[in-house]
Symmetry: C2
Subunit: 407 residues, 2 copies
């Protein structure tokens, strides 16, 4: 007997037939003698529709009201799944965030879970009742308002609930059958990964792999929740996200990811003086523009410096505005922007003990005539910025170079 949390995303609960399919999976776990909590997203498309309504209502809106609106889709799914489960003789009840409660801070729109009071749930789960929990939402106890956890927040709901329940496992059911060495739509020889470390999964999620929300992986890592990613629609063991010690044979590189969500800004001939970087990036940070990769070169004239950095495409316009508005604080000759870039990353905890991983990346790309614009590295990751038109070629070349291709 185990205590498990199962999470189903929007495509897995898109209509009543799919909700019945979910109920099959839940009923099977109950029949196997497990204590089960289920976390559900809104039916596919519902949250987007509600977000759209909020945008139509006002250009700038009160995030407390936005949360009250967009959280409603999950309540519907939780109630419907409970009805379907009861209909096949499985005891179940739905729980909204405020009913448990799932306590969060007051950062509406992207709130952080602070505590989940699970006593009631544990008692009822032990008595054989499935807890069907509305994902994505929480409750801010001071003003007694509903909060939401940000897009993809149901993953975080599930992992946080698993941590609070001290669950043996958190199964994330989605529309793919696991985490892959690379996007299989681009690299046909990509392989499903059986086991991956928290650290790698975190880098994969933050470097463009869309299978899990980054914050949910952070939380799983912090609380050592064993997470499994698997498909709602086909049988399989999926991918297990676990501690490094639990992986016997560790590949040097576990996966190759990409993100098209980048835009490059270059400031030419910035007058070089101490504090110029702070002068540039301070105002951007204040305007909540996230700067990712940064590179600073000496200019041809040796007196000034060229500064290149990347922001998300959504932030590009705002970033340019902020820079223009602060031109009195730092001098530069010209600003150029480039949206036709992609960030490609290779990720693997094996890098820590293997030299030459970055070198292999540079060689593989050079061999195909792909110019590297910016490089950043971390302990278990190397990322490069290249022209977007080379995306597919770069991914396939790197996937082969690191020996990841399926036989």
């Amino acid at each position: 007997m185990a205590r498990i949390v199962m999470k189903f995303g929007g495509t897995s609960v898109a209509d009543l037939d799919r909700i019945r399919n979910v109920a099959d999976k839940v009923a099977a776990e109950v029949a196997a003698g497990n204590e089960v909590a289920v976390v559900v997203s809104a039916m596919a498309g519902v949250t987007n529709q509600l977000v759209g309504y909020a945008g139509q209502a006002a250009r700038l809106y009160d995030l407390r009201e936005y949360d009250a609106v967009v959280s409603s889709g999950e309540n519907v799914t939780a109630g419907l799944l409970s009805i379907v489960l009861q209909d096949r003789g499985v005891q179940a009840r739905s729980w909204q965030g405020w009913q448990i409660p799932i306590l969060t801070d007051g950062a509406h729109g992207s709130a952080r879970i602070e505590k989940i009071e699970v006593e009631d749930l544990l008692r009822r789960m032990a008595a054989g009742e499935v807890a069907v929990v509305a994902g994505f939402q929480g409750f801010e106890p001071v003003r007694r308002r509903i909060t939401t956890l940000g897009r993809g927040g149901s993953d975080t709901s599930a992992v946080a609930l698993a941590a609070a329940l001290k669950a043996d496992r958190c199964d994330i059911y989605t529309d793919v059958d696991g985490v892959y060495t690379c996007d299989p739509r681009i690299v046909q020889r990509a392989r499903k990964i059986d086991r991956i470390t928290y650290e790698e999964m975190l880098e994969m999620a933050s470097q463009g792999a869309k299978v899990l929300q980054t914050r949910s992986v952070e939380m799983a890592m912090k609380h050592r929740v064993p997470v499994r990613v698997l498909s709602s629609f086909q049988e399989g063991t999926g991918t297990l996200v676990v501690d490094e010690e639990e992986i016997v044979e560790q590949a040097v590189v576990s996966g190759v990811t990409y993100s098209r969500d980048e835009a490059k800004i270059t400031l030419r001939n910035v007058t070089d003086r101490p504090g110029v970087a702070a002068a540039i990036f301070g105002p951007l940070a204040e305007a909540s523009v996230n700067v990712d990769m940064i590179v600073q070169n000496i200019s041809a004239d040796q007196q000034t410096t060229d500064m290149t950095f990347t922001v998300t495409r959504a932030d590009l316009e705002r970033a340019v505005e902020v820079i223009e508005a602060n031109r009195d604080k730092f001098d530069f000759k010209a600003m150029s922007i480039d949206k036709n870039v992609v960030k490609v990353s290779v990720i693997g905890v094996g890098m820590r003990s293997h030299a030459g991983v970055a070198q292999m990346m540079f060689s593989a790309l050079a061999e195909k005539g792909i110019n590297i614009q910016v490089i950043t590295t971390s302990e278990i990751k190397v990322s490069v910025l290249i022209a977007e038109e080379y995306t597919e070629l770069a991914l396939r070349s790197l996937h082969s170079a690191y020996g990841l291709d399926a036989a």
Copy 2:
């Protein structure tokens, strides 16, 4: 300065443009210096969709889960209206049933409001904040579950809130501009009624006029809440529902209504003995079949009796099953059913002091050759059951006979 409750139904909040129109009306009341609470329904069609989902999920469902599902539409509207109001500089916040809370009993699907804790609302309304309240829903405090008040329940939410807030007025905005002497789609010469008594409005609502939920009128009458029915889409003073004393010139008959929601059951040659009526209607009541009109005649053979009564069409099948199942408790020769009937009622508090009102009805119908099948009367109402094909003819004839036609 007054304290008012404004209620907007589903067609009044069907999309963002209409929600903006609602915000105009609310903003105008705030600008006039009033303290305002607004009760909103779900966007038109949403509740039907959610009810449909519940029906698809299971044939018989847990009403607690049904309530969790179908209550969500109102939360969306309340949030969106708050955003739109804030966008035009009007302070506003949304309130879900559990947040206020609106305390109800545990009769899920058709719960009764027991108490509304309005201290917080009153304080904020006095500070100029509009309270935007999700209609149709409440909170059952023992199990901490969401309840709903039954279809059309937002009217009841509004009146109950007006009573709890000791509001000066409860304005029910709908898609018609008031209460009419008869359905204007059938009787072209129907007139809008300027003032109507609670008692008449209650009979109108329960005898088929769909403009207000019956229970909301009962509650308005009990707490003496002045209710006004008016249009969201055109200017006008609407219809005021008030105490009898506030109406100076009272017509004998105020309105003519009809209900197609009737079905007639006749049991022939029932063995007549004391207690036979109880034997028939007891089991029906136990099966929650509401019996409306009843008439009992001596049969041709003088030894037995014929029993005719009406139930709603939705209950007909169940009523027939119950009667067949209890045939051992009372004997009869034959049962016949008739769905092609309509109940036509004339309503007016003036009847109390005027004789001959019923007689005028019988004459007017006889003159057109319309046969009356069943008659029931109350202090301020006469209802007859006739063949459905005569509906329009009967309504127009009665409307003219009682002098209600517009000039």
